[in-house]
């Protein structure tokens, strides 16, 4: 089904809202991961506001699709998305990482509606998501399972254990999104521990791999909707860490730190400007 320009604009606008929320919550928290959170906002907007079947008023709905964030340190983007979708009151975003908050530094399943898994130690989410996908098949449910992993996270052996399992069982209801931003804490992924040729590696495990610009919502929708019979799918999503906030883009130092008050104000004004332009984010991977 063709997506209208109005729908795309809505999703782009939502991505900007999500980015603003991320800036607000990280500044208040005083710690947390900025770059990856901002870099994946377009993917989250697309998933939660167009692709996934879910009901924020009924988070345990049996027929829902599920999303698992394996690179769980970028949970501000997930928390922001869940707030925008109405899973919990938006004013609560300012409690991130604070004592008594449902918004733990890394997600705690059961603490907040909409969190399908706990996470933090890398690579655990992909196995959990694989378990959900095979359980859906056993239960004869049409649940689709989406899981995001970071590219640096793919250093972990458990990722490849899970990929083998998903490939072997042809979990066609499973979609992996690789946040390919080329950066991890110690530097560029290809310097720390090379992943390339990543597309070939993933294909060889039995996945249908689609390379996509992680900031082009129209392309993301097409990629999510594309299916190959009896094959699990990977969106190799090229993203820009810090996307949407000029002074954070491509800067590894923003991986694990929050903006201070002044920086947050600057970021918000940039994002507001972006929104006044209809939310258009330029796509450098086109």
């Amino acid at each position: 089904m063709a997506v209208t320009d109005t729908q795309i604009e809505y999703l782009e606008d939502m991505a900007t809202h999500i980015r603003e929320d991320i800036i607000i919550m990280l500044e208040k928290a005083g710690s947390g991961h900025s770059a990856g959170s901002l870099g994946t906002a377009d993917i989250f907007s697309t998933l939660y506001f167009h692709i996934m079947k879910h009901d924020p008023k009924n988070p345990d709905w049996d027929e829902r699709d599920k999303f698992v964030l394996s690179n769980a340190h970028i949970c501000p983007v997930l928390y922001a998305t869940l707030a925008e979708a109405g899973y919990y009151p938006k004013k609560e975003i300012t409690t991130l990482r604070k004592l008594g908050s449902r918004l733990q530094g890394h997600p705690h399943r059961g603490a907040l509606p909409g969190l399908e898994a706990s996470g933090g130690p890398l690579a655990q989410g992909i196995s959990i998501a694989a378990g959900m996908a095979i359980a859906a098949n056993i239960n004869k449910k049409r649940t689709k399972v989406y899981c995001m992993v970071g590219d640096g996270e793919m250093n972990e052996g458990q990722i490849w254990e899970a990929l083998m399992f998903i490939g072997k069982n042809r979990l066609h209801n499973f979609t992996l999104i690789v946040d390919r931003n080329n950066i991890q804490i110690d530097g560029f992924t290809e310097d720390v521990m090379p992943l390339e040729p990543l597309k070939d590696k993933l294909s060889s495990f039995g996945f249908h791999v689609i390379e996509v610009d992680g900031h082009n919502i129209r392309r993301l929708i097409e990629a999510f909707e594309e299916t190959i019979f009896e094959k699990p799918k990977v969106l190799l999503a090229h993203t820009i860490p810090g996307k949407g906030v000029d002074f954070m883009e491509f800067k590894p130092e923003w991986h694990g730190k929050p903006p201070n008050k002044e920086e947050a104000e600057k970021a918000i004004s940039e994002l507001e400007e972006l929104r006044s332009l209809g939310g258009k984010i330029t796509c450098e991977h086109e």
Binding site: V68, H108, R109, G110, E116, A117, S118, G119, G120, P121, A123, Q124, G125, I126, S127, I128, A129, A130, G131, M132, A133, I134, A135, A136, I138, N139, T143, G157, Q158, E161, A162, M164, F165, K168
Partner: protein, 329 residues
């Protein structure tokens, strides 16, 4: 049947002459099938060890509910969590050295922190796995699971108890770790013996000292108590099959009434049953204690019985510990 055994437990008649010898893992294999028959949500996940972990019968009975993971224990723990979040009751199996040995982080976060209803089965636990040597002798698994919040830890003592525990754990909606060995061990309980998670069972009453044991050492404790009675020492024997939550009442009562405690387990001295008992004793009723356990060293290759004797994990070792503790009483 010896005098002094508590009749309400219906223990086997032949304990003190020629007890039946059956591996505890057989009890698991039969119990998990029974659990599967009772609840269609029970599924089994295994890491390329289907026969030796005694999952073959489940696989044959419920082929669509058996998931082969391959040699990937970390992945197994995560997949199990995901299945549990989807309403399943996964039993995951490998050798205890690998699961929970190798996938502890996954058990901690994906399973325990998330309250995933996963049953972790540590097979081939203890030094009695024998010739494979120290790498395969899980002697630390109770310590590394007992410290995890939300996790129940069970060390059943024989075939029947393992079978009953395998069925019972399906009924509690939280994660469980259960360990059992490879070798044939004496069958000391019977089909009629009551079993309840979290309750320590006083198999033999006594007033001079209490031997609290679990797993394969419960039989050795009964033998030791029998021999001690010849020397005029009246030993109480408690089977503390549930290490967590530990039965505090039974321990406090034993400390108050007998004034000395010996613990016996096929596990390292640090962090296992002995530590769990000591935590209770120190807090509520300090009395002298001795530990029969692996004394902070790795095992080695050998026949199971040779190893159990070498490291004092037998009735002789227990008797020695009882005599030592009585000197300090």
């Amino acid at each position: 049947m010896s005098k002094g055994l508590n009749k309400k437990f219906h223990l086997a008649d032949n304990i003190f002459d020629t007890p039946d010898q059956v591996p505890a893992r057989n009890g698991y294999g039969e119990g998990v099938v029974e659990a599967g028959e009772a609840d269609e949500n029970v599924v089994v996940l295994c890491c390329d060890l289907t026969e030796s972990t005694r999952n073959a019968k489940f696989k044959e009975t419920f082929p669509n509910r058996f998931v082969e993971i391959g040699i990937a224990e970390q992945n197994m723990a995560g997949i199990a969590a995901g299945m549990a979040f989807s309403g399943k009751i996964p039993y995951i199996s490998s050798y205890a050295t690998f699961s929970p040995g190798r996938n502890w982080d996954q058990i901690r976060v994906s399973i325990c922190y998330s309250m995933a209803n996963v049953k972790i089965m540590g097979a081939h636990a203890g030094i009695s796995v024998g010739p494979d040597g120290a790498t395969h002798q899980a002697m630390e698994d109770v310590a590394i699971t007992r410290c995890l919040p939300n996790l129940t830890v069970i060390v059943p003592s024989d075939y029947w108890e393992t079978k009953k525990a395998a069925v019972a754990i399906a009924g509690i909606k939280s994660p469980v770790y259960m360990r059992f060995g490879r070798e044939k061990i004496p069958v000391i309980t019977t089909e009629k013996t009551p079993f309840q998670i979290g309750r320590a069972d006083t198999y033999r009453d006594g007033k001079d000292v209490t031997i609290i044991s679990c797993g394969s050492l419960v039989y050795e404790a009964l033998i030791a108590a029998q021999k001690l009675s010849d020397d005029g020492i009246d030993a109480r024997v408690i089977n503390s099959h549930t290490i967590k939550p530990i039965d505090e009442k039974a321990i406090i009562k034993a400390a108050n009434e007998t004034g000395a405690i010996v613990t016996a387990e096929e596990h390292q001295v640090h962090g296992g049953l002995g530590s769990a008992v000591a935590e209770v004793v120190a807090k509520y009723s300090p009395v002298p204690m001795e530990y029969v356990a692996m004394m902070d060293r790795f095992g080695e290759s050998g026949e199971p019985n040779e190893l159990m004797h070498k490291f004092g994990l037998d009735s002789k070792g227990i008797i020695k510990a009882v005599k030592n503790v009585l000197k300090r009483k």
